[in-house]
C-alpha cells in the first residue's frame, strides 16, 4: 500500500477514534461517580449538535455552540434528577433498563421537536470542498478542529479533576462514596454534576463533528455502542485509557476496509468488544480491580 494511502487510513481512523473516545469519556465520568452505565450518552452528543444547529440560525456560531453545550448540560442534569435519582433500590439491572428507556425517549423527543431530516452545522473554517494536505493525506480542515477539540477536552478534564474542588469531590465520590459523604461532600449533587459534565462534553463533541458527519436524530444509539465498546476496551472508568482505546479502535476500523468488505466494518468493533469481555474484562489498560477503585 502506498504511503499516502496508509496516511489517509490513519487520518480516517484517528478522526472517528477521537469521537469514540469523547463518548467513552462521557461514559466514564458518570460511571466513576455513580457506577451507572448511561446508555443515553450518545443522545447527548446529537442533542448538542441539533440545538446548536437551531441556534446558529440566530446568532454567531461560537455563541450558538456555547449555548448549546450549556443547554445540553442542563438537560443532562434534569435527566438525572427526574429519572435516575428516583429509582428505588437501584440495582445494575434497573439502571441499565432505565437509561435505555431514557435514550429512547430523548431520541423520540428529538424526532418530534426537530424532524427526521439530516442537518449539519456550517464548517468552522472553509467549506464542504476545502481540503488540507498533511503528510500525504488529504482531509477537511474541520477534522483538525475535531482533533483539537478532543485534545482540549481531555486536557481540560484532567485539569478539572486534578485541580478544582468540584473535580476532586467527584473523584472522592468515585473512590469511596461513604467516605466522601463523611467528608461533607454532597454526593447526590456530585452525581447530578457528573451527568451535566458528561452531557456538556458530549454536546461539544457533537457540535464539532457535525459539519463532517452530518447530524440526524437517530445517530445517538450507534455512537453510544461504539463509545461503550471503547470505554470497556480501555477499562471502565479510566478515561486516559479510553482515549488510547478509542484511537486504537478507530485505526482498526479504518484499516479493516483494506482487508474486509466495508459492510462488516461495524462488526470489527463488536468482535473486539466480545474478545475483551472474554479474555480481559477489565480492559486493555485497566488494572484487574480497576472497576473497584474508579479513578479518572
Amino acid at each position: 500500500m502506498p504511503i499516502d494511502q496508509i496516511a489517509q487510513y490513519c487520518f480516517s481512523g484517528i478522526t472517528v477514534g477521537s469521537i469514540y473516545a469523547i463518548v467513552a469519556i462521557g461514559f466514564n465520568i458518570i460511571y466513576n461517580t455513580t457506577g451507572v452505565i448511561n446508555f443515553a450518552q450518545g443522545e447527548f452528543v446529537i442533542l448538542g449538535a441539533m440545538t446548536a444547529i437551531s441556534l446558529a440560525a440566530w446568532m454567531p456560531l461560537a455563541i450558538a455552540i456555547g449555548l448549546a453545550v450549556l443547554i445540553t448540560a442542563l438537560i443532562g442534569g434534569l435527566v438525572e434528577l427526574i429519572f435516575i435519582r428516583r429509582v428505588k433500590r437501584p440495582t445494575v439491572l434497573r439502571l441499565i433498563i432505565i437509561t435505555i428507556g431514557v435514550s429512547i425517549l430523548l431520541r423520540e423527543t428529538m424526532l418530534h421537536v426537530w424532524d427526521e431530516k439530516v442537518h449539519a452545522l456550517p464548517f468552522f473554517t472553509g467549506t464542504e470542498v476545502s481540503s488540507v494536505t498533511l503528510l500525504g493525506a488529504h482531509t477537511s480542515p474541520q477534522v483538525l478542529w475535531v482533533l483539537g477539540a478532543c485534545a482540549l477536552i481531555v486536557a481540560g478534564l484532567s485539569l478539572f479533576f486534578k485541580f478544582t474542588a468540584p473535580g476532586r469531590a467527584m473523584r472522592a465520590c468515585a473512590a469511596n462514596r461513604t467516605a466522601a459523604q463523611l467528608c461533607g461532600i454532597k454526593v447526590r449533587w456530585m452525581v447530578t454534576a457528573s451527568f451535566m459534565l458528561s452531557a456538556g462534553v458530549g454536546a461539544l463533541a457533537g457540535c464539532v463533528t457535525s459539519p463532517v458527519t452530518q447530524t440526524q436524530y437517530d445517530m445517538g444509539a450507534p455512537l453510544a455502542i461504539k463509545g461503550f465498546t471503547v470505554a470497556i476496551l480501555g477499562g471502565l472508568g479510566n478515561s486516559v485509557a479510553a482515549v488510547a482505546a478509542g484511537l486504537l479502535l478507530g485505526l482498526l476500523e479504518a484499516f479493516s476496509i483494506s482487508l474486509f468488505p466495508l459492510a462488516y466494518q461495524d462488526v470489527v468493533a463488536i468482535v473486539v468488544l466480545l474478545a475483551v469481555l472474554c479474555f480481559r474484562p477489565s480492559g486493555l489498560f485497566g488494572r484487574r480491580d480497576a472497576h473497584v477503585s474508579g479513578e479518572f
Binding site: V102, Y264, P281
Partner: protein, 356 residues
Amino acid sequence: MRSRRYAPIAGLVLFVIALQLTLSATGTTYYFTQITMSVYYSLVALGLCLLMGYAGQISLGHAGFFAIGGYTSAFLTTHNIATSGGGSAVRWLQQFGLLVERQDLYGNTIVHLSPWLALAIAMALTTAAALLVGLPVIRLRGHYLAMATLGFGIIIYRVVLGTAGLGEADGFSDVPPFRLFGWLEVNGRKPFAAQNYYIAWTLVVIVMLLGANLVRSRVGRALRAIHENEEAADALGINVARCKLTAFILSAWLAALAGVFATHYRGGIGPSEATAFKSIRYVAIVAAGGMTNLWGALAMGVLLNFLSLRGVFGSYDDAVFGAILIAIMLFAPDGLIRVPRLFRRIRKKLDGSLAA
C-alpha cells in the same frame, strides 16, 4: 397441591378456547393473525423472563436468538440442495425422508431440507451460539453481560443484513409452511388461521407447564436464590455459573423456537427481527410483566405485541416502549402484574379505611 399448581394453566387453556369460540361466533376471526404472531413473540418474552427474573441476568440481544432460529429454518427450507452438489449426502437424506420436493415461485422444482430437520439444526446452532456468548461472560456482572449480549445481537443483525445468501436487506419472503404431522401445518394462509392459533397457544401452554414445574424444582429454587443474592447462593453450594448458563441456554432455545415457528407462519423473515430495538422491546415486556412472573411476561407479551401489530401506537411505537421502560423502573420495578399481592393490598387498604 398438584391441582393448585396446574389450575392457572387449566384456566389459560379454557381462556384460549373461549377466545377462539367467541371470535369465530362474532365473525371477527381476522384477529387470529395478530394474536398468533403476538403469542410467538411472547414465547421469547417467557424465555427472557426465566433469564432476567429467575437468574437475574440481562440480555439485550435475545432478538438475535429469534433470528438464528428463523433464518436457519428459512434458509434451509428455501435453499435448493440439488444445486449444492454432494449427491450421496442428498440421497442419504432422501432415504430418511428428510427432504422435501416442491415448486418454487417460478415453477421450478427445488429440493430442500424438511422443516423438522431445519428445526433441529436451528436449535443446535442456537445452543452453540448461547454457549459461545454465555460461557465467557456468565461469571461477569451486570453491565458486562448486557454489553456482551448487545454485541451478540448486533453481530447477528450485521451478518443477516450483510450476507447475500440470507437475503440481505430484504430477508426471506417465500418460506414454505411447516407440516407438523398429518394435516397440521404451520401456515399463515386464511384457511389455516384457527389451526395455527391453537398451535401457537399449545406451544405456550407446554412452556407454562414446564415453567411451573421448573420454578418449583430444585433448579428453579436455585435460580431464585441466585436472583436474590448471588453470594449467599454460592455459599449454599449452588453452582451459580452452571445455573445461570442453563437459564441462558433455555431462554435462547425458547427464542429460537419462536423464531422457527413464527417464520413459517409468516412465510418469511427479515433483518428487522434481529435489531437491537427488538431485543429492547422484549426486555420492556418482561419488565412490565414483572421479572419474576411468567404469567406477567405472557400477558404483557401478548397484549403489547397485539396492540403494536394493530398499529394502535401509530408512529409512537418506539416511544411507547421507551416510556414503559422508564415508568416501570420508576414506579413499579417489580412489574405490573402482581395480582395476588395487589388484591391483598387493596383488601388491606379497604379494611383499614372501613375499620377507621
